[in-house]
């Protein structure tokens, strides 16, 4: 059959098949990643699995078992089907699957369910049939089904907000759906738009693995192993010559390995197997622990925070009136003639920070425990904490004391684009002397930040909020107030120094015209 031929030639070429196979349900990168992983049967880059866990929970199982055969002999304690422990041969169905709301685009965390296209429990659903329509921000998107089967239970009603990864509905998947699957990508490519029920879908979870030239589920293979039978001797009666459990049973019986009368003991065997077939057809992964090795940016964070924990921190909190800053930014933007430049608050905050540091250089220093000395750093290399899809990273702008606000704006945008693309150089992220964290842009009033070793201070800025304030005459006026929290190393800095430094910085922000006094 075409299936087998191509498999033997090129078993793991998954280049573009995902696009045909998965419509709006699985984002391409995750499936391609999953494909790459399955081809090497390794755990590697599980950090990426994080994002894909919701889209393809089955993948996790696949990855956590390096050894295809032995893995199934461990018990998972998973809630499988709700069916009796009959052999698979007796029941024409597979198991229950949870259909999650898959990722519909970067940055979208939740969608509103608008309407269902299937109405009742027990409605038949074909693979790629639209299941429901959701709305995310500006787009209405049809979610299509990954499986062929029947609706078991709706978990949401129209109007509900569903988080990405949450289960939308439970389905009972057809047994036939499974027997049609094998890993051949090219079969998939041909079927676009044609008869879906005969589509061979690649599912990197627990589908029947076609290895060694015989089609059979891992459960069946395991059973065969337990019986000490060679699977190649068993004549398969399933689709495309697939070996089913009853084939093994009848073969074993005919070979006298298992007497027909001891079918009950065989059932016991199969009861154990039922769990595996449950696994092969259903998944209750949502209650399983997920282990993610620490990689990349997260590993760097572990290291630096462990070191930061050794520093005796104290935190100083203050509020800054940003009315002048808001006006300044508006004025910059108004006179802006460069289409590539967008003015925000941060560059002014950075430049004024540098001005304040010139007066209080102790905050721009570095402490060495072994040598028991403090080095006052000559350059103000101000680090900006950035939350990227890859994790927390802190690139720094070098020599801020010599840069103009416009130059800072451009450099900031350069670093940010690199950060988002995960292309920061080691020079960009090292050599920082103080860090700014604008957590307020995401939320929160103020945080208590941890110092970025080997620096001695860090500044967390909360959200700018418009609140009423009293002026000198006792009149109420609206003020844009930002709360800042300065974390400092108490071995080097004391409260008084930090307080004075903060007052100086605050002065430059509240009266930016004073920056001109220092203009050269």
């Amino acid at each position: 059959m075409i299936c087998r031929k191509i498999y033997q030639k090129n078993p793991w070429s998954f280049s573009q098949w995902w696009r045909c196979v998965y419509s709006a349900t699985v984002p391409p990168s995750s499936v391609a990643d999953a494909a790459a992983r399955s081809s090497s049967f390794e755990m590697g880059s599980l950090s990426r699995v994080q994002a894909t866990i919701f889209t393809n929970p089955r993948t996790l199982f696949f990855l956590s078992n390096r050894y295809e055969g032995n893995a199934l002999s461990t018990s998972f304690g998973i809630k499988g089907c709700k069916f009796t422990s009959q052999t698979m041969a007796d029941l024409p169905i597979g198991g229950v699957v949870d259909v999650p709301l898959a990722q519909t685009g970067e940055g979208i965390a939740e969608c509103e369910l608008l309407k269902w296209f299937v109405q009742e429990v027990r409605d038949q659903v074909e693979e790629f049939q639209p299941l429901c329509e959701v709305q995310s921000d500006k787009a209405t998107i049809e979610i299509t089904s990954r499986y062929t089967g029947k609706v078991l239970k709706f978990l949401h009603v129209p109007g509900n907000i569903v988080k990405v990864g949450e289960t939308l509905l439970k389905m009972v998947v057809d047994e036939n759906a499974f027997s049609n699957q094998c890993f051949e990508a090219s079969e998939v490519m041909k079927v676009q738009g044609s008869n879906v029920s005969e589509l061979d879908v690649v599912d990197l979870g627990l589908r029947k693995a076609k290895i060694g030239g015989v089609l059979a589920t891992p459960a069946v293979r395991n059973f065969v192993k337990q019986l000490g039978v060679n699977i190649e001797d068993v004549h398969g009666t399933g689709k495309e010559g697939r070996v089913l459990k009853e084939d093994v049973l009848s073969y074993a019986a005919s070979e006298g390995i298992l007497k027909e009368s001891s079918a009950s003991s065989a059932e016991q065997y199969l009861q154990g197997d039922q769990k595996f077939s449950d696994i092969s057809s259903a998944h209750g992964w949502e209650y399983e622990d997920k282990t993610i090795p620490v990689r990349g940016f997260q590993r760097a964070m572990v290291k630096s925070m462990t070191l930061a924990a050794k520093i005796p921190h104290f935190h100083y909190v203050d509020e800054i009136n940003c009315n002048a800053l808001v006006e300044l930014k508006a004025s910059f933007q108004k006179e802006n003639s460069d289409s590539g430049v967008k003015h925000t608050f941060l560059p002014v905050l950075i430049k004024s920070l540098s001005m304040a540091l010139s007066k209080y250089p102790l905050l721009n220093s570095c402490f060495s425990d072994e040598l028991q000395e403090v080095t006052l750093k000559g350059s103000h290399n101000i680090g900006i904490a950035m939350a990227t899809p890859h994790g927390l990273v802190v690139p720094n702008i070098k020599k801020v004391q010599s840069l103009s606000i416009l130059e800072i704006t451009k450099e900031l945008s350069r670093l940010q684009e690199l950060a988002l693309a995960n292309k920061l150089s080691s020079d960009d992220i090292s050599g920082g002397t103080i860090t700014l964290s604008n957590i307020g842009a995401i939320g929160g009033k103020f945080g208590s930040p941890l110092i970025n070793v080997p620096e001695v201070s860090i500044i967390a800025m909360g959200r700018i909020q418009k609140i009423p304030q009293f002026d000198e005459d006792g009149n109420v006026y609206p003020a844009s107030i930002m709360t800042v929290n300065i974390g400092a190393d108490h071995r080097v800095l004391d409260g008084a120094t930090v307080a004075r430094f903060c007052n100086e910085w605050k002065l430059f922000i509240e009266k930016p015209e004073l920056l001109m006094l220092h203009m050269r």
Binding site: A24, P28, T104, K138, L346, A441
Partner: protein, 276 residues
């Protein structure tokens, strides 16, 4: 002639439908019909609509988004469209550009909201190329140093075009209403939305939007848009009759005009909610 033909080889075909002053409800019905029953790619440009009309997204709640009493008093029609997104008020100063494409029409484009917006913003960037405009760029929120999702078309930090999409199994629609010009008084019918992109920063409408006419002429915008589309597709001029010909007979569009009664009920809902 031969040269231009060679250049166009391999580009996907798109039907270009130019309209002027077509009522927005009719346009929405047409778009939804083409999305669900046609298998061609379409680009619809509607140069202004006749009466000022409010168009809400598919799940917009009137009591939260609209000043219903003024709307009822002034008899402004309110439509709920079939795509997601926010609320706009459109009139003769609005230019509509809609793309209805097959999933694989644009090579390499994934049919999710962000990639589609990304593609269209590149297309419109071509339209504004060379014109002295500040900040027509990807919506990266520099203050937070994270990329926010692409949402609106902005000049500087002011919105000049709102857009929405609908993505089905094999096709998608991405439509935009461009504020070439607007009436200040009309903006008074819209409330400040609860859900707004970060860059809006609680600005009210007049401080948040801007007029495209300050930068480019109407005909120039439309011509340049057509040119930009022509660089990615093979254009085929279509007429309104062509659009209707390809359509199936049994189709019920879901964009609809809200009845006065519904708007009245919405006021009631908001009043009782505030009382409880």
């Amino acid at each position: 002639m031969a040269v231009s033909q060679t250049r166009n080889l391999g580009l996907p075909l798109i039907n270009l439908l130019r309209l002027k002053g077509v009522p927005i409800l009719q346009q929405l019905h047409l778009e939804e019909r083409l999305l669900r029953t046609s298998s061609d790619n379409w680009c619809i440009i509607n140069d202004g609509t006749i009466d000022p009309t409010i168009v809400m997204g598919i799940s917009g709640k009137p009591q939260e988004l609209l000043e219903i009493e003024s709307i009822l008093r002034d008899d402004i029609p309110v439509i709920r469209r079939f795509t997601g997104g926010g609320t706009v008020i459109v009139d003769q100063g609005t230019i509509f550009v809609t793309f209805i494409c097959n999933k694989d029409a644009v090579p390499g484009l994934q049919s999710y909201p962000q990639p589609i917006m990304s593609w269209s913003s590149l297309l419109y960037k071509k339209v504004f190329q060379g014109i002295e405009i500040s900040g027509f760029a990807r919506m990266i929120d520099y203050a937070s140093c994270t990329a926010v999702v692409l949402s609106d078309y902005v000049l500087g930090d002011r919105k000049f075009g709102g857009n929405a999409q609908s993505i089905t199994k094999n096709r998608w629609v991405h439509h935009t209403s461009f504020l070439w010009d607007y009436e200040i008084s009309n903006m008074g019918y819209l409330k400040l939305p609860k859900r707004a992109p970060e860059y809006r920063q609680a600005r009210d409408h007049l401080e948040f939007i801007c007029r495209m006419k300050d930068y480019i002429s109407r005909s120039s915008f439309i011509d340049r848009t057509i040119e930009a589309v022509g660089s990615e597709f093979l254009l085929r001029s279509a007429e309104l009759e062509d659009a209707h010909c390809t359509l199936g007979s049994k189709f019920e569009p879901s964009s609809r005009l809200l009845r006065k009664q519904e708007l009245g009920e919405a006021i009631f809902k908001s009043l009782t909610a505030s009382q409880s």
